[in-house]
């Protein structure tokens, strides 16, 4: 009998906790960059522990200067991310007509892939065939790893300050 009680109480608590987490999830923000990195510390020197995609939602747990500690909803994944990688808007990845309607009249939605997008760039390139984007694509591949930047800082005798690094 006691076992039954315990089991049901546990179940009830799980239900309540789930409901509470849904109710409390009002600090949701969205990743507004191509790739958003979650780090172990509120600094770019913090180790990357997870990488999120454009439009992914995160729940803000804590704020420190220009950094947010966030959790990926319904997971145990959490980490620090710089505020400029986040927006309070909900990013709709494949917007339907209703989303477009809502986005036009409120500031709560942002539409991914709308407006100036790949299609517009494609049309521009078709009209201006002399413009070569090869080096633009190459430049986007110039990404220095965390390890190399740390080495660069160390050997250059540089001293990045905590809050902004």
């Amino acid at each position: 009998m006691n076992k039954c009680y315990t089991a049901f109480f546990t179940f009830v608590f799980i239900c309540l906790a789930a409901a509470a987490s849904i109710a409390a999830a009002n600090n949701l923000m969205s990743i507004q960059v191509k790739k958003g990195h979650l780090r172990t510390a509120p600094s770019f020197l913090g180790k990357i522990i997870a990488t999120l995609d454009y439009g992914d939602r995160v729940d803000v747990i804590e704020e420190k200067n220009t950094w947010f500690r966030v959790r990926v909803p319904a997971t145990v994944t959490s980490g620090w991310i710089h505020a400029t990688a986040l927006t309070s808007k909900k990013i709709v990845l494949s917007a339907g007509a209703a989303d477009v309607d809502q986005a036009a009249t409120s500031d709560e939605l942002a539409l991914a892939g709308k407006g100036f997008n790949k299609q517009v760039e494609g049309e521009f390139r078709a009209k201006n065939r002399y413009l070569d984007y090869t080096w633009i694509d190459k430049m986007e591949g110039f990404v220095m790893s965390q390890a190399r930047i740390e080495q660069f800082i160390k050997y250059g005798d540089l001293s990045p300050r905590g809050g902004h690094e």
């Binding site: 309540l16 770019f44 220009t66």
Partner: protein, 307 residues
């Protein structure tokens, strides 16, 4: 046993009830969204609605701030393409790698460390003294500009100044309001009816207008003196945050002063005179003092050699 079972069932119902009540709003929102989506798909939203959307989105003050980082990224790519086609890239992997190490280290210390596509740097094969920052973080520096830098702190100052232009979105502010309004209202119309050829043509027109406005400002007219002061000021802050001497900026400007040719189509035309920039920045960083150059920093800077 039977009593315990009954109580258990009761708890279960309470729990379910609470769940439904607490998450109810969200469920209703989803249902409403589905409803309106179906409504629109079946053609409930007519031309009149489309017009009202158009009006309401125009009524809201739309400015460069409404351009999303993703749209900014596409503007920056094309502005970058215009620049790199006009000046030609300097294909030296080692030098470009060094430039990106330095630039990306600095960008992290700016007030806008994260952009949609990130910060990337490229040397341009030109003797002209010039540097450009395309929206979103594509930054270009000519060989001529590198020639003004005698040490890493000075080069860091050049890059930090360009990063600051990205941070303040100075490029986007060169876009005429008409183009921004057209782009954003065309977007608002998209859902109300099938995206017509005319709407896409309007959007393309806004894009072409934006690119033309930005490149004309960057290459021919230059930003306002106020924007340049703001960029120099932020550059000094970025340098200090990373551990560079903000006098690197003064050092670079002093060399530039002797090398700029009056009437040239480069920084001579698009930027305030180096002397006045030095005067402005020294109000906040104080009088010039010689930069301390650690040997390790100076030796890696030499990768630029005789570029």
């Amino acid at each position: 046993m039977s009593l315990a079972f009954k109580s258990g069932i009761l708890f279960l119902f309470i729990a379910l009830y609470l769940l439904i009540v607490l998450s109810g709003c969200k469920t209703m929102e989803v249902i409403t969204n589905i409803g309106t989506t179906i409504g629109v798909a079946t053609g409930t939203i007519d031309q009149a609605r489309a017009e009202s959307i158009k009006k309401s989105s125009m009524a809201v003050a739309r400015s460069f701030r409404d351009i999303t980082p993703e749209q900014e990224y596409y503007i920056g790519r094309t502005v970058g393409a215009v620049i790199v086609n006009r000046y030609k890239p300097y294909n030296n992997p080692e030098a470009n790698r060094y430039l990106n190490l330095l630039g990306q280290t600095l960008a992290r210390a700016s007030d806008l460390p994260e952009t949609f596509g990130g910060y990337h740097f490229l040397i341009l094969d030109s003797d002209e003294i010039n540097a450009f920052a395309a929206a979103g973080g594509l930054i270009f520096v000519t060989r001529g500009m590198l020639g003004n830098c005698r040490n890493e702190d000075a080069l860091a100052a050049v890059l930090a100044h360009e990063i600051a232009h990205v941070q303040f979105r100075h490029g986007l502010q060169a876009i005429k309001k008409a183009s921004i309004t057209t782009a954003l209202t065309t977007l608002a119309l998209e859902g109300a009816k099938t995206f017509s050829g005319q709407d896409f043509a309007n959007l393309m027109g806004a894009f072409e207008g934006s690119i033309a406005d930005i490149t004309a400002t960057m290459i021919n007219n230059g930003y306002s003196r106020a924007f340049e002061q703001q960029a120099d000021q932020a550059a000094a802050t970025i340098l200090q945050r990373v551990g560079y001497d903000p006098n690197g900026l003064v050092d670079m400007l002093r060399v530039m002063q002797n090398r700029l040719k009056p009437g040239g189509f480069d920084f001579a035309k698009t930027h305030p005179a180096p002397a006045s920039r030095i005067e402005d920045i020294q109000k906040s960083i104080g009088p010039y003092r010689v930069i301390n150059k650690p040997a390790s920093r100076q030796s890696r800077f030499m990768v630029l050699g005789d570029i």
